[in-house]
Assembly symmetry: C2
Homo-oligomer: 342 residues x 2
């Protein structure tokens, strides 16, 4: 991945990660790793939880091997409005592949996408969506797909803000990932997004290596091609890592229950339940998008209609309060939202 | 896991693993980590490969994050004769569960198992096998299954040798796992065996944590039971991590191609092809069971008929020679086979 935005990010993250590697860093230095958080209740809850689970004299001490923290991606680690980044990718790929598919000029949902009418394209519901995903995510080897994603994301821009999608990562959450790792936590992404869509950039962006990314997937098939073993991506769903699927994916990939889980929508409910109902001191956190000035505002506490992307219902909000999950107000708990300083 | 045999193992392994953590250990000290290997061609090939991929001045240098090594389990890390350990578990579980299933007294394949006639039980082929697996591996939560496996393995004995199965691990391979980790490799198990059957003991036995175990699986379902989130194991196959499935499982769980892969049978062929045909210096190794005196003898180079458990065909042997995979002779390359010194 050689494009300037990603390089810039990689350098910034290396600096953040480096802090955590300072042996014998004082409690104060560790505290500063969360510099983009205001000194409010959310930061206090994080620091107290990490202290309680990593101090050997604490009754809530968790051995290093069991310090598993899982993070949703869209809306939790980076912006998901006005649409998921992977949806932007799929639409761009339809346009890029159109010359090889003259039939798409008249065939839905592709014809509407090519005319720029997204609403008409999605009128076909799940079937249309699946056709778009399979036309853009299957039919190549895993190595080829990785390169396509790397090339695309290096220059992709958010259609609402016109800023690189790689710059719309949440700086406080990047700090939180590094802070947890500095305290012996293994950090995993557990997202409804495509596992192979996230892996090409998750390590440079978040410090999360490919083997610690859990996501949705399509099936693949082993083949020998010109003497080289490859995996071909098939147009067939394998696993949907959302809602009920998140604990299933966690168990399949990680094999432990997490000790801490971070999300922002109804798709994360079961992951937080699986994490926090297992006994012992556990941590659940939901990011609430209530900062229209710096990012986007949606969800029950904003007074605005709920969003189809990143749905955060009143029922989830009520459950969070009842279970003691921390609800992060982007407006009040974050000094800055993006690394650019905004 | 509190039974004495496993405790003993854990202590032994901790000692081995500790060697690898000595900062600045000399090349000689590292070499001694493979003390159970004779100074033959297999050990030489391992040491040279690790040196070439971890020495920064080497043209074959591999950065730490990409140092992925995958190991088959049955027949590669521990004994698989006269039957897979997981098959012993399934048969024992049928006997343990029989009082709750009076119908099994007359219902195949259970009736034959209860009479001790394994051959008759397996006459039903794959269908019978699947019924045995589902009757013994499904219907409980993942937490309950973990405990059942832990309790069982603590006292399980190999029916041929009457020795604890936990003592029939291959000492040279345990040393190899620790040696690779000491050189910055992440070690994964990639086995046809059940992922949730292996995880409860793989960390103590091999130093491989649950999130680095890849295996076959059945489906699970999220449920709330008495206010606690659980996953229930369903009698439905999810994934077979064998043959063509091993590269698929590696890609799904690890997301990198391995740099080194270790196996012992035709079930490992595609994993080794996927590892060694990707360009760059790569390492493939197959363990040949040619030591009747200390373990078991089967496979093409032994002059004995091939085995249905851990099949190692002449075709695989020929491919190994052609591709430059190292074939380990247990008889000649290993000073001792088991930690007991045998």
């Amino acid at each position: 991945m050689s494009a300037p935005p990603l390089r810039r990010w990689a350098r910034g993250l290396a600096a953040v990660a480096g802090l955590g590697l300072l042996a014998g860093a004082s409690a104060q230095a560790r505290h500063d790793q969360l510099a983009s958080w205001t000194d409010g209740p959310a930061k206090k809850a994080i620091v107290e939880f990490v202290k309680a689970t990593t101090d050997k004299s604490s009754p809530d001490y968790v051995p290093p091997g069991e310090r598993i923290a899982t993070f949703d991606n869209d809306g939790t680690l980076w912006a998901e409005q006005p649409m998921y980044v992977q949806a932007m990718f799929a639409l761009d790929r339809v346009k890029a592949l159109a010359p090889q598919h003259p039939e798409w000029q008249t065939q839905e949902p592709f014809a509407s996408i090519l005319k720029g009418d997204l609403k008409a394209a999605l009128a076909g519901g799940d079937k249309a969506l699946l056709e778009i995903v399979m036309a853009t995510h299957a039919g190549m080897t895993t190595d080829e797909f990785r390169q396509i994603v790397k090339d695309w994301i290096a220059t992709a821009k958010n259609p609402a803000t016109k800023r690189p999608v790689l710059e719309m990562v949440y700086q406080p959450m990047v700090e939180l990932l590094a802070y947890l790792r500095a305290h012996g936590y293994k950090t995993f992404i557990v997202s409804g997004g495509g596992i192979e869509f996230m892996r090409p950039w998750a390590e440079k962006l978040y410090g999360v290596p490919p083997e610690q990314v859990v996501g949705s997937s399509i099936k693949t098939k082993f083949e020998m091609r010109d003497g080289k073993a490859v995996l071909v991506r098939l147009p067939e769903l394998n696993f949907i890592d959302d809602k009920d699927g998140k604990p299933v994916g966690i168990n399949q990939h990680i094999g432990h229950r997490p000790v801490a889980a971070f999300g922002n929508s109804d798709g994360d409910r079961q992951m937080l339940e699986y994490t926090t109902t297992s006994g012992g001191l556990r941590f659940g956190m939901l990011v609430l998008h209530d900062d229209k000035a710096r990012e986007f505002a949606y969800g029950p506490a904003t007074g605005l209609p709920d969003s189809h992307v990143g749905t955060f219902t009143q029922a989830l909000y009520d459950e969070a309060k009842q279970r003691g999950w921390v609800v992060v107000s982007m407006k009040n708990d974050w000094k800055r939202v993006f690394p650019s300083g905004q």
